[in-house]
C-alpha cells in the first residue's frame, strides 16, 4: 500500500468536497495545507497514479440528469468467474463492480442515461453470460454521505 504522509492525509480528508470554483482553485485550496498550488497538483497526481484516489473532480448524480442508477447482482459459477467479470465489465454502463461473499457473488452498479438503458444493459448481460441478473433499484434513499477519512 502506498505510503501517505501527513499532508497527503489532510488533502484526502479535506478535499472530498468543496473544491473551490475560482480562477486558480488549486492555489486557493493549497493554502489550508500550507503548500503551493503546484505542490497540491503534484500530490494529487501522485495519489491518482498510486490509486489512492480513484478520481478528482465533479461527482455527478446521474438521476438528477434524467438517468438511472441501479444496483444489480448475479451468481457467477466459480469456474467461469473471470470470464463473467470480463463480460460484465465490458459494458460501459457498469460503473462499479465488486466481488462479494454470497451465493450472489458479483454486485455491480449500472448507470445509464435513461431508465430504458438499465433494462437494455441487463438484457445484454443476461444474453452474454447466460446468467440471471437480479436488479435492486433503490426504492427510497435514507442516507448517502460517502466521506471516509484516512485511517492509515
Amino acid at each position: 500500500m502506498p505510503e501517505l504522509d501527513a499532508v497527503d492525509r489532510l488533502i484526502i480528508d479535506k478535499l472530498q468536497g468543496d473544491f473551490p470554483i475560482c480562477d486558480e482553485p488549486y492555489a486557493a485550496a493549497a493554502k489550508q495545507f500550507g503548500i503551493s498550488g503546484d505542490e497540491l497538483m503534484a500530490r494529487l497526481q501522485r495519489l491518482l497514479d498510486d490509486k489512492v484516489l480513484t478520481r478528482f473532480g465533479p461527482m455527478v448524480q446521474i438521476e438528477r440528469m434524467g438517468g438511472a442508477f441501479v444496483l444489480a447482482a448475479l451468481q457467477a459459477p466459480e469456474a467461469r468467474y473471470d470470464e463473467v467479470v470480463a463480460l460484465v465489465n465490458a459494458l460501459p454502463q457498469v460503473a462499479h463492480n465488486y466481488r462479494r461473499e454470497h451465493a450472489l457473488n458479483m454486485w455491480f452498479v449500472l448507470a445509464t442515461e435513461t431508465p430504458q438503458g438499465i433494462a437494455d444493459a441487463i438484457a445484454t448481460i443476461e444474453t452474454d453470460t447466460g446468467l440471471q441478473v437480479f436488479a435492486f433499484p433503490k426504492e427510497r434513499e435514507y442516507f448517502v454521505e460517502m466521506k471516509l477519512e484516512t485511517r492509515v
Binding site: D23, L53, G57, E139
Partner: protein
C-alpha cells in the same frame, strides 16, 4: 425521470469534459472552457449552477477506501416489515458509521432483504460490531440479515455519459 432539471448541450459537454477528472493545471476551469469552446468564467458559473441543482453532488477527491485504511466493507442487508421500513431506514441511515442506506425490492426466494446499509471498517470484526448495533436498533423488526463482505474491486470507473 421527467422531473430532473433540463441540461443544455453546453452543460452536457461540461459534464463529459470533466467526468474523467478535473485537469491538474493551475487554471482548470479555463482549460475546460478552451476544450468545449466557452470562457472559463462561463464554466465556473455553470458548475455553480449544477452544484446548486444537485446535479453535481460535490467537487473533490474520491478516495479508494481500501487504500486509505477502510479495508473491510460490508453490505449489511436486512429483512424488515414493509410497514415499518421507512421509520427503520431513517434510524439506520442516521447511525454515524452507515455511509449509504436504501430500501430496495426483495427478490424471493433468492433474496429476502429489503433494507441495505453499507458499513466500512478496518477489519471484518469492526464491521460485524457495527452490524450488531444495527441489529439491536431493529430489534424484533429484524426478520433476517446478512453481511456481504467485498473481497475484490472488479471495476470502479465512475459513471460515463
Amino acid at each position: 425521470m421527467s422531473d430532473g432539471p433540463k441540461l443544455d448541450a453546453i452543460d452536457r459537454a461540461l459534464i463529459v469534459a470533466t467526468q474523467g477528472g478535473l485537469p491538474l493545471v493551475a487554471r482548470p476551469y479555463q482549460r475546460i472552457g478552451e476544450q468545449i469552446g466557452i470562457a472559463g468564467e462561463e464554466v465556473m458559473r455553470r458548475l455553480q449552477a449544477l452544484l446548486a441543482a444537485g446535479i453535481i453532488r460535490r467537487i473533490g477527491a474520491v478516495p479508494n477506501h481500501y487504500a486509505i485504511g477502510w479495508t473491510a466493507n460490508g453490505m449489511t442487508v436486512w429483512d424488515v416489515p414493509n410497514a415499518n421500513i421507512d421509520e427503520l431506514g431513517a434510524s439506520v441511515g442516521g447511525l454515524p458509521f452507515v455511509t449509504h442506506c436504501y430500501r430496495r425490492p426483495r427478490a424471493l426466494p433468492a433474496w429476502p432483504y429489503n433494507l441495505f446499509a453499507m458499513v466500512h471498517g478496518n477489519s471484518r470484526d469492526e464491521v460485524r460490531e457495527k452490524a450488531a448495533v444495527i441489529a439491536e436498533l431493529l430489534g424484533e423488526n429484524c426478520q433476517g440479515s446478512d453481511v456481504l463482505f467485498s473481497t475484490r474491486i472488479l471495476k470502479k470507473a465512475g459513471l460515463r455519459i
